[in-house]
């Protein structure tokens, strides 16, 4: 019997590429858990989040950072936030459960999304080729999060800093999504 230990694979095999002053790379090693607010339980969840992470539950479209930067909560829809944190294990939900107890409904999304980080001077111009959202800092400042569609693929966009964006797209079409973003960067650099 061969060694049966299962080896994990990331959606984009660790892709990383530099285009002048613009960098596009896969982000791996993150836990991503959706937290749904039980009906009537928003205060309890809020309290649990505050005491566990020291930050507030973000309203839809924005994010908050807890535990001195160790976790980011992203408000994705009424009653649903995604928790994003550095985590290499297989049971991300357990990590959240440990912190928040039974104050939310948790679903592991760590393997559902391919994550790309795009940063640098051409980031906004590149995204303008596929992203219908207005990413100008005046309307999409640091920490803003949104769901949108790029090239027919559902995408979650998070702005990190002045010219950095975390892009999350379905794992199954990760290769197509990478192609779409990469082509956009090539078209403007």
């Amino acid at each position: 019997m061969p060694d049966m230990t299962l080896k994990p694979k990331t959606p984009l095999n660790g892709y990383s590429e530099t285009f002048g002053a613009t960098v596009l790379e896969e982000i791996a090693g993150m836990g991503l858990v959706s937290i749904a607010t039980p009906r009537g339980g928003v205060d309890a969840l809020q309290g649990a989040v505050q005491s566990a992470y020291g930050c507030a539950l973000p309203p839809t479209g924005s994010s908050t950072i807890g535990n001195d930067g160790a976790i980011r909560l992203m408000g994705l829809q009424p009653g649903q936030v995604f928790a994003l944190f550095a985590y290499d294990g297989d049971t991300a939900v357990t990590e959240i459960e440990k912190a928040l107890g039974d104050n939310g409904y948790y679903t592991d999304q760590s393997d559902s999304w391919a994550m790309l980080h795009l940063s640098g001077s051409a980031a906004i111009d590149a995204l303008a080729r596929i992203c219908p959202l207005d990413l100008d800092a005046s309307v999409f400042p640091d920490g803003t999060v949104a769901r949108t569609v790029m090239e027919h693929m559902g995408v979650i966009v998070l702005r990190e800093g002045t010219d950095g964006f975390l892009l999350m797209a379905a794992r199954s079409s990760a290769a197509n999504f990478l192609h779409a973003v990469e082509q956009s960067v090539r078209n403007v650099t």
Partner: protein
Amino acid sequence: MSQRMRINGGIVDRSKPLSFEFDGKQLQGFAGDTLASALLANDIRFVGRSFKYHRPRGIFTAGPEEPNALVQLRRGPYQEPNTRATVAELYDGLHAASQNYRGSLNFDLMAVNDLFAPFLSAGFYYKTFMWPQAFWEKVYEPAIRASAGLGRLSGKDDPDIYDKGFLHCDILVIGAGPAGLMAALTAGRSGARVILADEDFAPGGRLNAETHEINGGDAQGWTASVLSELKSLPNVRLMKRTTVYGAYDHGVYGALEKSTDHLPMSGGKPRQILWRIYSKRAVLCAGATERSIAFGNNDRPGVMLAGAVRAYANRWGVAPGRNVAIFTNNDDGWRTATDLAAKGVSIAAVIDTRSGAAPADVAGATIAMGASIVDTKGRKGISAVTLSNGTTVPVDCLAVSGGWSPNVHLTCHQRGRPDWADEIAAFVPGKDLPVGMSVAGAAKGALTLAACLQEGAKAGAQAAQDLGLTASMAEIPEASDEASAITPFWHVTESKGRAWIDLQNDVTAKDVQLAKREGYRSVELLKRYTTLGMATDQGKTANVLGLAVLAEASGKSIPETGTTIFRPPYTPVPIAAFAGRSRGKDFRPTRLTPGHEWAAEQGAVFVEAGMWLRGQWFPKPGETHWRESVDREVLATRKSVGICDVTTLGKIDVQGRDAAEFLNKVYANGFAKLPVGKVRYGLMLREDGMVMDDGTTARLSENHFVMTTTTANAVGVFRHMEFCRQCLWPDLDVHLISATEQFAQYAVAGPNARKLLQKIVDPEFDISNDAFPFMGCGEITVCGGTPARLFRISFSGELAYEIAVPSRYGDGLIRALMAAGEEFDAVPYGTEALSVMRIEKGHPAGNELNGQTTARDMGMGRMVSKKKDSIGSILSERPELNREDGLALVGFRPVDRARQLKSGAHFIPKGKTPSLENDEGWMTSVAYSPTLGHSIGLGFIKRGSDRLGETIVAADPIRGESIEVEIVSPHFFDPEGERVRA
């Protein structure tokens, strides 16, 4: 060849000569030239043949409105027909060719059409190609197609790439002429996010083409200083070579940026970008277009619009003629005379239809007030004009001005109608503008420079103020209001020669009059009947003139006659730009399962299922037909064990205190009492009682379920459930999230499925039949601690499981399963084998769940629980859906077992003709069953369950086959279900 018509001045860069080729001749121009200005500089005026009569035609305008000078640019696969020479920016090595002739441009065999002109009048298609009817397809249409069209496509794939994009701004300023520059400057200084888009490569609009003064200096200097300020403002984006072609809902505008059309090669970058611009306000400063006057033979090369003639002289330093006459009904036409005279070009005559004193002195020119031109001479270029007073004046260029029409197009893109303004004899924007749009400058009918500057500044400030910004009116630059008086004059009725209105479509004043006589009084009908205003220029120089002639013929005013509707695009947009990157495999995304790479390594043949690629079968060396592979996969699975990637099934995570109640409402059968650790088959109905989808749902804990849906309906079911949750029962505590992407899932089926799994499931989990019975489920670990979910469910009819691991382990798991299965001769099986096995078991799938069938039709009527309410339950009780002779899903096998069944065949009683009234149902799914050794089918037939054993005909008239089939139970294989519980 020297540029012998080049004169002093202009904004071309004489230090940068460019070589180009036209119809095989090597020529030179300068940076800043258009192809048209460079051709004129080289004294080439005859550049194409007209559409219908193949008459020689020259360059008529200096802008996007050009009807005549259409050329083919570039070569090989890059070839692009019907390009306007007047907007094609010259680059070194440009290759251009004239088009629309047989033979050569000079000796066009098709010019014979011109002799038949009396037979080719308006509507000649409809009158001529009537008889005999059979000739239409065989003779007329091919002949028309062969002679129609202008240029030719290369017939090869376009090697260039195209892109799209999205831009956002507070204020979009359309057009960078004097009004647009002032609007952008005022809005930009207020801090608003401004986009200034201009179709030209040199912003400035008419300022580039006139000899105006602003603030006491030349207008070009002022333009340069404004542009430099705009470029310094970080909130202003200046987009050259960008045509805003359409105004859409909610302040959205379409724009085409020609990024590399001015370069010899695009260098791997997109050639053109189709922008969608989201604006809060838009200021339309699109300027105005000059129009002609209808008189005899007014189409010869050398006959040009007066504004264009002086644009060539002023902007490009090119004299369109050596001896120029001007024919005008307004003061602006006189500017051409004075500007050209000032540059030393000889003016032969100025003919003004208005009587009274001449508005200006033009040295050496014959001045004819209250006169007109009745005819011209010169076949391949104008050589003389004949005046209404009988005199003939030799000329080589005739500049015509019938007045200026504001470019109201974008104001009408949402069905707005323009108003007629008598004082400029033209249509101006009406009151119903697209939301957020204002209009300034010549586009609004303000045809003088001072008015344009003033209006632009005002509109820019107003737009900024509307958005809550503080806008100070920029200091309005000083300029004068030049003379622009006009007395409408459209048509020299005493002309005997053909008086052309629409040069692109060869429509004459006579055609318009004829159409009117034949009853085409509506301007929309006139357009379709005569083709006036169609094709690439959309009648920019012709429409108002055509209307005027129609009005004249009907004895009505122009506003009473009305205009045709303006629709996007304003100027032609290549289909390639609309397609953008959506070419070939980039047309839509492809979804791959985590096991895809492994399947590809096995040589799997993939099939598209929705956007997924699924392994259809896994051919082994030596297998030459797909059936060999599929039969082998089925037999091996039934004999020992097979593994199938079922990741693509939709997975929905359902949590909440009311999750069970929620599922009880969306599923027709009961779910409230499903124990933890159990899976149940669920049937989902639409509100109308028809089956929507089916699948299994597992209860992982008291408040946590995971549902599977069919691959095809995954998105639709999720959407339906979100609707139910948010809109129907908002009081329930239930939350949904898709988990389709989270897990890789494999079916492991066959008598040895458990033995195989026991090798990889960690030993602390007991999956024996007692501990983990049929329809059990649980969270386990595999391969030394990897978390997994195990479901004991079966689609194949075998002892079977589905095992799910986080997607990152999907590749590892399939490899581990296959390795563990080696001792059992485990096979991977694809969707074909899956389908064969489910048909053998009589399980319905997509073919049966086609939206027209009910649970009762499927033989699952009793699953629709009446102990509770669920979606579709009530309407499934409709009498029509419960007829005694209703459809039932049953199995079919050929009476002659050697024959193949066909899905889609209809069931007809023996001895009856295949017709609608004898139709009793249809075959939904068929397969060759390697287990049974013959073809089997599933299908719906009236009263099916009462007719087991009956023989009937499966008629397939389309494929010309009818075979006798026997009605049998749909459960061909293991009808008692002993194997799944083994």
